[in-house]
């Protein structure tokens, strides 16, 4: 049995979160809350669990409820209880858990909880200090409320997708589930702020986080471009990456690529970095307007390439840091796992799982490094729960059910 009451001082310690999330955004939200000490009880469907258990990647590419890397990544530090919410007894168990909880997070479509007679007003009636965080595609009202979505569709509508990719091609989405994870991260922040409020005044809250508005509010170009349109009427495009002298993605000696972005104040430093002191001191080249002509961009780009191609990504990274030019190597996941900085900081964590054996996981989003009493230790991470692994433990310890009670519920398919 996993003991959650470890003597590690974490910010959300003592707070209980009922986790009615599935797929990606909701579980990322509760992962963050669990990472910082909340006791997250993940409610899963009997027999099948969170659909993310059936989503790739799988150990040895072989599907199985305890073989999904996506699920294992998203659900560390949580406990799993299986419940049939369509059964009255299952529903009552959930309501009993909610009575003692600080927060409930869900990412069903907006009609589901009201359909189970668990709309916010009903939950508030049984627990007036409860924070309910609802994540949905388009929010809890409005004409698109019941529309369907996907990461691609929603990021394309709300986010800066029109500005991502090649000007010659269709707009391009960011990798994998990154849009959903951003929604989850925002929902965790929203939950924490609401918990702060409910802790002060004893009143609960219903937080409405939507994919569409999260993406519409992204500081990554979107909000600036929106306001620029409001200010000056410009519709934004996909600008070419190499839109100023020295900005681009360049081939390196070791077969990879290196990405530099040059701001006006660091252009001369970049010219010196690549051995072009003459250009660095040339008044014409120091004029940002003059050097932004396409021919000048190409001319300087050729000089950058001839310098880059003779150096490894590691050498170039050290040089850009020294010159205070903005840039970084295009790394693969394999490169990242052996990056000297992340290794020295012990960012990655190894976890054992009964199906897979030890695997490497990314570490904490942020770290409490220092308290007034001294250095804080990095908390350990607990592997994702097996389906229903903690059903007996929680029904017994928290709700006082006997082994016989639980067995009877199991026979009826309630747990």
């Amino acid at each position: 049995m996993v003991n959650r009451s470890v003597a590690v001082d974490l910010p959300l310690q003592g707070m209980r979160v009922i986790d009615l999330t599935w797929y990606t955004s909701g579980p990322f939200c509760t992962r963050v809350l669990a990472d910082y000490g909340a006791d997250v009880i993940k409610i899963e469907r009997v027999g099948v669990g969170d659909p993310a258990r059936s989503m790739p990647p799988f150990q040895d590419d072989e599907p199985g409820l305890e073989r999904s890397g996506l699920f294992m990544f998203l659900n560390t530090n949580k406990r799993s209880v299986t419940l049939n919410l369509k059964d009255m007894e299952g529903r009552d168990i959930l309501l009993d858990l909610i009575r003692g909880a600080d927060a409930l997070v869900e990412n069903f479509s907006p009609r589901i909880l009201p359909g189970l007679d668990m709309d916010y007003q009903s939950l508030k009636a049984i627990n007036p200090r409860l924070v309910v965080t609802s994540i949905s595609n388009f929010g809890r009202n409005g004409p698109y409320r019941d529309w369907n979505g996907s990461d691609l569709v929603l990021y394309g509508m709300g986010g800066p997708m029109l500005n991502t990719g090649s000007p010659e091609r269709e707009p391009l989405k960011t990798a994998g589930h990154t849009p959903s994870f951003q929604v989850g991260a925002m929902a965790a922040t929203a939950t924490a702020i609401a918990l702060w409020g409910s802790g002060a005044n004893g009143r609960g809250e219903h937080v409405d986080v939507s994919y569409l508005e999260t993406f519409m509010g992204l500081v990554d170009r979107r909000t600036t471009n929106l306001v620029n349109y409001e200010y000056a009427g410009d519709i934004s495009t996909r600008p070419p990456l190499a839109n100023s002298s020295g900005t681009g993605i360049w081939p390196t000696k070791d077969g990879g690529y290196f990405y530099t972005t040059v701001v006006a104040a660091r252009w001369a430093a970049m010219a010196r970095m690549i051995g072009q002191d003459g250009l660095a001191n040339d008044p014409e080249w120091n004029d940002p307007v003059w050097r932004s002509a396409p021919d000048r961009i190409d001319e300087f780009g050729a000089l950058v390439i001839s310098w880059m191609i003779e150096r490894t990504k590691t050498e170039i990274r050290a040089a850009v840091e020294e010159a205070r030019v903005y840039g970084a190597p295009i790394n693969t996941i394999a490169d990242v796992l052996r990056d000297e900085h992340l290794l020295e900081r012990r960012f990655f964590q190894e976890l054992n799982h009964p199906t897979t054996g030890p695997l490497t996981f990314p570490g904490y989003n942020f770290r409490i490094t220092t308290t007034i009493d001294g250095e804080a230790a990095l908390p350990p991470r607990l592997r994702a729960p097996l389906l229903g692994e903690h059903t007996d433990e929680i029904l017994h310890d928290d709700l006082g059910l006997t082994t016989d009670n639980i067995e009877a519920l199991r026979v009826k398919g309630v747990v």
Binding site: P11, M72, F73, E170, D220, A232
Partner: protein, 443 residues
Amino acid sequence: MERQATPASPVTSGGLPLDGVRIVDFTVVWAGPFASQILAEWGAEVIRVESTKYFQPSTRGTMAHPPKALIDSGALRGYPDKEPGDRPWNRWAGFSVHSRNKLSMTVDLNTEDGQEALERLIRTSDGLIENNAVASMDRVGVTWERLSKINPELVMVRMPAFGLTGPYRNYRTFGNHMEALVGHYSLFGYAGASPADSGLNIMADPAGGAAGAMAFMAGMLQRRRTGKGVQIEVATADGFANYLGDYVLDYGMNGRLHEYRGNRDSVFAPQGVYPCVGDDRWVSITIGSTDQWKALCGAMNRADLAGDARYQEADGRRRFHDELDAEISAWTSGVDATEVMNSLQGLGVPAGVVMNEADAYGDPHLNARGYWEELEHPEAGTHRYPGVVWKAEETPNRLRRAAPRLGEDNEYVYRDLLRYTDDEYRRLEGLGHIGMDYDPSIP
């Protein structure tokens, strides 16, 4: 902590959860300001600490005094009516959106007077948030060792790109470079193309912003329990590595390094971005089930595709993805993007216009939700801005004030909050600490 009767803030926040929480804000560019934007949105009094003697590029614009030629050529954007005005730093779109609801003070921290003002400010604040290179903060005395002695209840959030320790601690990058370093640029791109074709993507900044605000709240919740301050480190680059967690696991489980696959998905097929009538008009479509596939075929009036045995399951649709993309594109190319979205969504098929700014401001759903909000700014005029990021049923929330002009709240901060006398205030003004203009020598 020394607390006196609280003077009235220029940005009122009664009723919001973070009402009464004061944050000293040293954030720059995007990730840090986004974190403090969220905290200000929910009621914190966020005081930006700025300097008239130093201009941080990409925060209040690319340049303090941008040449009109660069604005006319389109190289520099973001000014109302494409006019930089007398004080361009107060009129720039990027700043005006993430710094709404915040206050601005100016001070030169490279002097003893500046350090005295900083100490007074720390004494009267709950938290501090910053995202600078570690060495830059060390140089102006913004360290936990020092500030926690001045205010032992301080919640201090540090957001250097690579953290407070390790070989890259002083390495400066933007979000796109953080993403390159932690692997993102190896994972999104057009099939078979170079990473340069992926263009610009800077999601590490919003990711860092969400994490920074969360870190601050974690610190506050910890302080509520223990009564003690805490330093929290948000290494924005490390944090973004979490967004690639399933790829890290796939590498560990199967040794797989993914190749670019454009907008296609590992489960759903077909999925893509398809051209519509007009210039740079696109619609995204995801087919998540056989029912949705049949509905799409119905909308395309293609009973032949709906009945084709090869396309009944996602595996088959994935095998013939190129052919299906050609069929879908042939249909969408003749239709308006909004019409494709509305008709497919009416059939339960996930579809959406790849919205440009005009689509977004005119979108019926966002307008019905009251998303856009108007703010009046004394130098930028009256405009509609993206609204509060999420809604709260018990706590209706609106934007409260336009982004502060440089030094706009010096009077409030120095006189009301830090209790400087009139003589002292005028002396600091004379020394260039207090002001509303950048030094003219700054380009």
